[in-house]
């Protein structure tokens, strides 16, 4: 497969052939495509901003990102949340140079323009003597996102006013994402996130992690073999050790599941019976922690005893993976550079020793120093470097695993399923990527049903 981007009559569909399962390396290394993504993907999609527990008080703020650009999530004097672009309207300087904090106003360090926490331009130096007849302050507030949604404590935003409502953007994953922000006892909006956020750069295109996470079950046995043996999980070496907690036996069938019309997908299961599995002791190395989680599990089992659970974790298109104890975000930072962010939710009402145990486990599991993610980074980084080569770009990637084997089930409305080891989810993300890259507006890429219609 040769470069098609600059060829006459070429199209992105020539680079991504999903029926054949062939994808040009060019989509991971092309500066032109990366620049097109800035408008077509990042200025359009709903993006994860942060969690409301990061800004609990009036005046609290935290700097986040949407695509390449910094935004400020803050709580104004009326207790309302906002997301603003972190740039002064005068000459573009950052109006906030701290990662987080509490403030009355955001004052530009360049010429002193000052913005209230609701985004209004409230202070302009020398206004009366130099600006009054020229500047209408009401028109020069901080740029605010077109839409923002507080979804059970998680904050999402988009720059595109034509975007569907966030719950409809999630589609069949709306319930699963909701549950990821529940406490382990099943209380909605029941978590907080550890601070500060883990942040680090990795030398690969954002689509390497973004399009493979929660969609590449085949890599685990090879990539993470050494970590499985090392038994970094909270149970230590009980039951042979693992990198994860003990899985409770519960009648279920695992699949690769996705919503190709939306791009979301994850390693999910269809359960053969309603309810939540009985708790299995997991924290053998942390005395008392199992007692807490066992009690919480009883509450959640009572709440969901008649409910069939579908969904669970998911990669929410384009760049965030939501899990009950991890939120993984990959921000684009250049065609061959990604800024990884990690947040770790924990029950807000959990005792401190439980929070500490969870945090310690997450630190050795994920993030820049986490052993499991170190495995993943090696793959993405070297694969990226090896894909930039002139000769290498002649050879497409193979995404053929499970092509043509997809199916649907009445028990998983809206989902497309495939074998538990397949690349269905990755193909769904690539399909959505093409649609975003070619669309003129949301009218072209949201022909799907509102969430309430998915189960019909």
């Amino acid at each position: 497969m040769t470069s098609l981007i600059n060829s006459p009559g070429s199209s992105l569909r020539g680079l991504v052939d999903l029926e054949a399962g062939l994808v040009s390396r060019e989509i991971y290394v092309s500066e032109e495509l990366y620049n097109r993504e800035l408008e077509q993907v990042w200025a359009r999609a709903w993006l994860y901003i942060g969690h409301e527990s990061q800004v609990p008080n009036v005046g609290d703020f935290v700097v986040s990102r949407m695509g390449e650009e910094e935004v400020i999530l803050c709580r104004d004097r009326k207790n309302e949340l906002h997301v603003f672009l972190n740039t002064c309207r005068h000459r573009g300087m950052k109006v906030c140079r701290y990662d987080d904090g509490n403030t009355l106003v955001f004052t530009c360090p360049f010429h002193g323009w000052s913005y209230d926490t609701d985004g209004r331009l409230v202070g302009v130096p020398y206004y009366d003597v130099a600006w009054k007849d020229n500047l209408d302050k009401s028109q020069w507030g901080l740029p605010e996102v077109a839409k923002m949604c507080n979804y059970y404590g998680s904050i999402w935003a988009t720059w595109d006013k034509g975007a569907p409502e966030f719950v409809d953007y999630l589609g069949p994953y709306a319930e699963g994402v909701r549950q990821c922000f529940q406490s382990s006892g099943g209380e909605d909006n029941g978590v907080e996130v550890f601070t500060p956020v883990n942040k680090w750069f990795i030398p690969c295109n954002w689509k390497f992690p973004g399009f493979s996470f929660d969609g590449d079950r085949a890599h685990g046995a090879m990539t993470h073999r050494s970590i499985n043996v090392a038994a970094i999980g909270p149970q230590g070496d009980a039951n042979g050790g693992s990198r994860s907690g003990i899985r409770t036996p519960f009648p279920q069938t695992p699949y690769e599941m996705s919503v190709p019309e939306l791009g979301h997908g994850g390693h999910n299961s269809i359960y053969d019976q309603p309810g939540i599995a009985e708790y299995a002791d997991t924290w053998m190395t942390e005395p008392g922690v199992d007692d807490y989680f066992r009690a919480q599990n009883e509450k959640k089992r009572a709440k969901y005893k008649d409910t069939y659970i579908v969904g669970e974790t998911a990669l929410i298109w384009p760049n965030v993976n939501i899990q009950p104890h991890r939120i993984l975000i990959w921000h684009p930072a250049g065609v061959g550079r990604t800024e990884s962010w990690r947040q770790y939710p924990i029950d807000r009402e959990a005792p401190q020793f439980v929070k500490d145990a969870q945090r310690h486990y997450m630190m050795r599991y994920g993030g820049p120093c986490g052993l499991t993610e170190s495995d993943d980074m090696e793959n993405w980084n070297y694969a990226s470097a090896a894909s930039f080569g002139h000769i290498a770009q002649r050879y497409p990637y193979n995404f053929q695993m499970g092509v043509g084997k997809d199916f649907t089930l009445d028990t998983a409305p809206g989902m497309t399923l495939n074998n538990q080891v397949a690349e269905e989810n990755q193909r769904s993300r690539l399909k959505r990527w093409i649609e975003f890259m070619e669309a003129d507006s949301w009218d072209d890429i949201y022909p799907v049903k509102p969430t309430s219609e998915w189960s019909k």
């Binding site: 403030t103 009355l104 106003v105 004052t107 360090p109 002193g112 000052s114 409230v122 202070g123 130096p125 020398y126 003597v129």
Partner: protein, 89 residues
């Protein structure tokens, strides 16, 4: 050049209306940054005000006007920039 009659005349500053005259002093920024709520300040236009909030950015203060030649301004909230503050009590 001394004695050069062709040199351009030096512009004369009008201290009454020139708001820039204090910007050459770094001390005014430090003063502003550390002023506590409740402090009384004197403004360049002759007004007095009470500090009601300090973002500690060295530039701005939230104030309530306490004395003014314009009675309508007394009791109103405002933001003042560092160069308009001429003193603090």
């Amino acid at each position: 050049m001394a004695g050069d009659e062709t040199a351009a005349p030096v512009p004369q500053r009008n201290a009454e209306v020139d708001p820039f005259q204090l910007t050459s002093s770094v001390n005014d920024s430090i003063l502003i940054r550390d002023l506590p709520e409740g402090a009384t300040i004197k403004l360049r236009n002759g007004d007095s005000a009470e500090v009601t909030g300090n973002p500690r950015d060295g530039g701005w203060l939230f104030v309530k006007i306490t004395e003014s030649n314009d009675p309508a301004k007394v009791g109103t909230d405002d933001m003042v920039y560092c160069v308009d503050v001429v003193g603090a009590l």
